[in-house]
Symmetry: C3
Subunit: 466 residues, 3 copies
Amino acid sequence: MAEHNTNMRLKLPVMCIVLEVILIILFGAFVEYHPDAHARGWHQYDVNNKTSNPDYENEFYYRYPSFQDVHVMIFIGFGFLMTFLQRYGFSSVGFNFLIASFSLQWATLMQGFLHGMHDSKIEVGVESMINADFCTGSVLISFGAVLGKTSPVQLLVMAIFEVTLFAINEFILLSVFYAKDAGGSMTIHTFGAYFGLMVARVLYRENLEKSKSRSTSVYHSDLFAMIGTIYLWIFWPSFNSAITAHGDDQHRTALNTYYSLAACTLATYAFSALVNHEGKLDMVHIQNAALAGGVAVGTAGEMMLTPFGSMIVGFLAGTISVLGYKYLSPVLESKLKIQDTCGVHNLHGMPGVLGAVVGILTSVAASKEVYGNGLELFKLGDVFEKIQNGRDSSTQAAMQAASLGVTLGMALLGGLIVGLILKLPIYGAPPDTLCYEDAIYWEVSVLSLEKILYAKLHVSYMADVI
Amino acid sequence: MAEHNTNMRLKLPVMCIVLEVILIILFGAFVEYHPDAHARGWHQYDVNNKTSNPDYENEFYYRYPSFQDVHVMIFIGFGFLMTFLQRYGFSSVGFNFLIASFSLQWATLMQGFLHGMHDSKIEVGVESMINADFCTGSVLISFGAVLGKTSPVQLLVMAIFEVTLFAINEFILLSVFYAKDAGGSMTIHTFGAYFGLMVARVLYRENLEKSKSRSTSVYHSDLFAMIGTIYLWIFWPSFNSAITAHGDDQHRTALNTYYSLAACTLATYAFSALVNHEGKLDMVHIQNAALAGGVAVGTAGEMMLTPFGSMIVGFLAGTISVLGYKYLSPVLESKLKIQDTCGVHNLHGMPGVLGAVVGILTSVAASKEVYGNGLELFKLGDVFEKIQNGRDSSTQAAMQAASLGVTLGMALLGGLIVGLILKLPIYGAPPDTLCYEDAIYWEVSVLSLEKILYAKLHVSYMADVI
Amino acid sequence: MAEHNTNMRLKLPVMCIVLEVILIILFGAFVEYHPDAHARGWHQYDVNNKTSNPDYENEFYYRYPSFQDVHVMIFIGFGFLMTFLQRYGFSSVGFNFLIASFSLQWATLMQGFLHGMHDSKIEVGVESMINADFCTGSVLISFGAVLGKTSPVQLLVMAIFEVTLFAINEFILLSVFYAKDAGGSMTIHTFGAYFGLMVARVLYRENLEKSKSRSTSVYHSDLFAMIGTIYLWIFWPSFNSAITAHGDDQHRTALNTYYSLAACTLATYAFSALVNHEGKLDMVHIQNAALAGGVAVGTAGEMMLTPFGSMIVGFLAGTISVLGYKYLSPVLESKLKIQDTCGVHNLHGMPGVLGAVVGILTSVAASKEVYGNGLELFKLGDVFEKIQNGRDSSTQAAMQAASLGVTLGMALLGGLIVGLILKLPIYGAPPDTLCYEDAIYWEVSVLSLEKILYAKLHVSYMADVI
């Protein structure tokens, strides 16, 4: 990167203010409350039906607790997971906070334009909030691939494009192919990972080892990261079930994810110890691979995968994820020149593809015998509504497969183009010597040299530190 | 402060035990389960209606998830937000824990006496828990203004009075003026901030710079504080919607808050970089100003503010909050002698007043056209139930304005009187030289002297750690 | 312990893989979705009743938010609570993660075999997830007693046996005696604590003081631990109410727990300052004793204990817990040779027994007058369904008492036998000199070699910080 004027005093404010003003104008022009959130809309029903619209049927009560769990994953989960770097905690949590806040607004518009318009208005409600957070998750996955090597302005530019492409890809999968992907193995994880990896490829830094001393963790940074990991792990059942159909679908998706993650965790510990010469566990694996089980049931979780099936999938996901960190990531870096800071290929890429494949296989197996009236009685958004409407299960499986292909294509091509845009030397990216360093973009309190030298005078002060 | 005997061995136990005994006696005399939580009460309905009372209509299911989110905000959110000080983490989380535990019990009684009595009993249930937590939030805001300069006994005394005044103010606003203020822009934020600022004014310490070395953050303390910030940010939609009416009201309030906060965050990053000479982001702004968007829609959030309106409000709130931290806080300290440790004026004070004003304006705009049957069909607790009952919207707006005035008056006068009470040299407040210091009130593990003496060799290392 | 080959390269992978394979096979053979989570099952109802089964009656919506709160307690709450040790954060969170992930799967089977079989299948759903997490909680309590002195393989072996015994004990209490114990004062806390204490007794290490330097906290480790504490405290109302009956029962249980904990916190601060010579608060007390109020209403919380009664119980629980830490724990170690790392006797043991006693007393007081139709109208799972069915309240109380006795017997005898099994020198337990040390089982990042060379003077110091 040629440009090393990392001063953000103009770039960042201009970027944020212009973007927010555009967002506000577009929201003013196009966004309206969903009837369930609209004073007139919700109470109007009463009159039409000559009966009061019972409050407990408001969509809010079916989905808001799940939304809040997802919200925790996006802001605490992703944010703290990335604090593992010793000198990049402010940026990890802070840039995560910034780009997520932007992305969820932009995603509301992009997803709305593509598949949420009613009378030329985008209707927002608890479902649109969940979907916007989902799209944001995809951007944060890509962020993980370029963590430490990008400026906040660069990240915002990436988010603008990625959200847009995400919405298009999601539209194709869900509204053209009628594929099922409630937890986003394809739309969120596969897309976010391969998009981010391609961007990282384009932004390859030959001299990144100059920042090597900062590219590892320290003791407390690993503990902060565990906050992110554990929250992601806990709430993943809510993530996968947040927009599945009411009733058995939400219930089953949560169960499947719960078992998949538990099995994945045992696999992660097993293989983490196995691939280490001294049999020691590696925090990188625990922080990441243990989550692969959630990714891998993102497509099939709402289907009749059974707990048995979920555990097998989770176990496989944990296994390939650890092996990926150990054996594949170094190859990606040395051969393919992909410097994947957080190893998103291992946590989101491969497990996402696995999840898509599991979705294909589980779709093939969909039958009247297994789903009973769950296939016959049509209910909007139910698993396999298209099968209910006459599509056979092998066609469904083919559409699932096509969805994986389209997602990979969109992610790689999109990542390539956006990567080239991000390579322009105008965003104030850090120099190779100052990657993974908070102090470029943040006021960081440091002890001045002289204070340290005289630290002996300040016994009580030093006591602080520990 | 004359008294520097900070030994709590008698003061604190006596205070805690006496208070808790009084609480227990008063609870024994006056508190009863709300029918929705009462074995006899809940099942009795069955008989009267000759029909079973469906469990899904129990208030618990409408509000308990929101309550838990609020609960996280009070204990984790506020508690960790204040851990930013390098040597005051135990006190921040720990005193927050203590005074919140006291306040929620005391608030249950005070709010109950004033507007929750049924047959001379206070009925408690999920709504009373939320309201008690809300009142507690106000006390914690004031705590932010005096953080580091007060003893736990002093804080408990402050809480006794502040909770009482809060309940009176809330009674006037909600039950006399029938103002709307579901998220508490006025009752919680404006009241808590100006009350705390006045207390801080009275407790002004001329020689506070003697503790200056401890009044800033260190690297990890800022990360701990971000846990608080992010949780407050995530759950603010639940906070503002926790006691709004069922159905569209809760739904809409959550939406408005979500968008306001997102817009506020972009404004915060923009102005934080803009006001810094090197364009660097300041953790103080990110930790605090990004939350102002939640405060500023605390009154109008339940109204038909629209996402568009919410985003404008959020953007303004973030802007004034950052500018307040940068330009106003130093003036408050130097000219008005208000040492506002956490800058509650910027996070709760000004955004709270902004929220009240937005509430006035949005009330004026309330019309049949916008609210439809939401204004006509009477439902207890609905937005503008008074308008539904014949009050016109400009009267409602006037009542909203009067509420802001009363709140400011109560807060400033109350803060003055309580400040004077707290100035008495009997509470074991810390001396000027030992403010912002955990070791006064807590057992703190320290390094042995000799280890410290040899620490000087590790300059760069040390810099990392802190 | 004779064996100090702590290399886990074979032991841990073999253990994890074998266990997970067995789990998967058993799940494949025995586990099926509960009808509420089963596509065919849920939609079949429609046909039978000639009416659609309303989605809002799916058990998922009654219990999933509570489940998620419990889930946070198990993984974040317990996990971070134990990070208070200066050099054992990875193991605390990480082993907690591992054994909880295993235990919840194993508990699903054990609890299912004993009291969840339908047509020779174990039906899983949101209730089974909560119950499995509860059983896991018991194992984590025992983990607290042996924290820092055990290998992960040893902990997994402990979990295998403890989960099994837990399920048997739970079966006796709930399905033979028809005792009430929704929040698990007996089944979870008393059982987990005394089981763990007995194991700790058998594993007594005479030379444990060789690891003494690592057995205490440092500043930041105490703050991490407070994350665990506060989350446990916040969500305990959800824990105790998670599997109580719908409606008033869940509502009331949450209320009682809320008040008990608040009163307990004031008692904790009072007695923590009182027992310290300088009146300083002790983080150990705050982190633990403040939670005893949740434990102590684990049995009676769903009964008509009243907020008044709950506060008395909470106050007592906090008091005995602090006094236990101060005066009893040293005696247990010196006289009974029980080295109870986390003081689970004070947080779970004594308060658990107190909770059982409160349950007995509250059962005696159960009357038509207090419970009204809540006693008459039979509803499965309601408090005192047996009293509803003719059992008198003193019989109920006797059964509660018998339950406490059986629990203590099972825990102590079980702990003795399992302790002897765990004493075998085959699990790679740490040597006496390296207890409470992450570096045995984890890759721990260290400073660069040259820095380390100069650090040699500060070995133990440096070790802390990183």
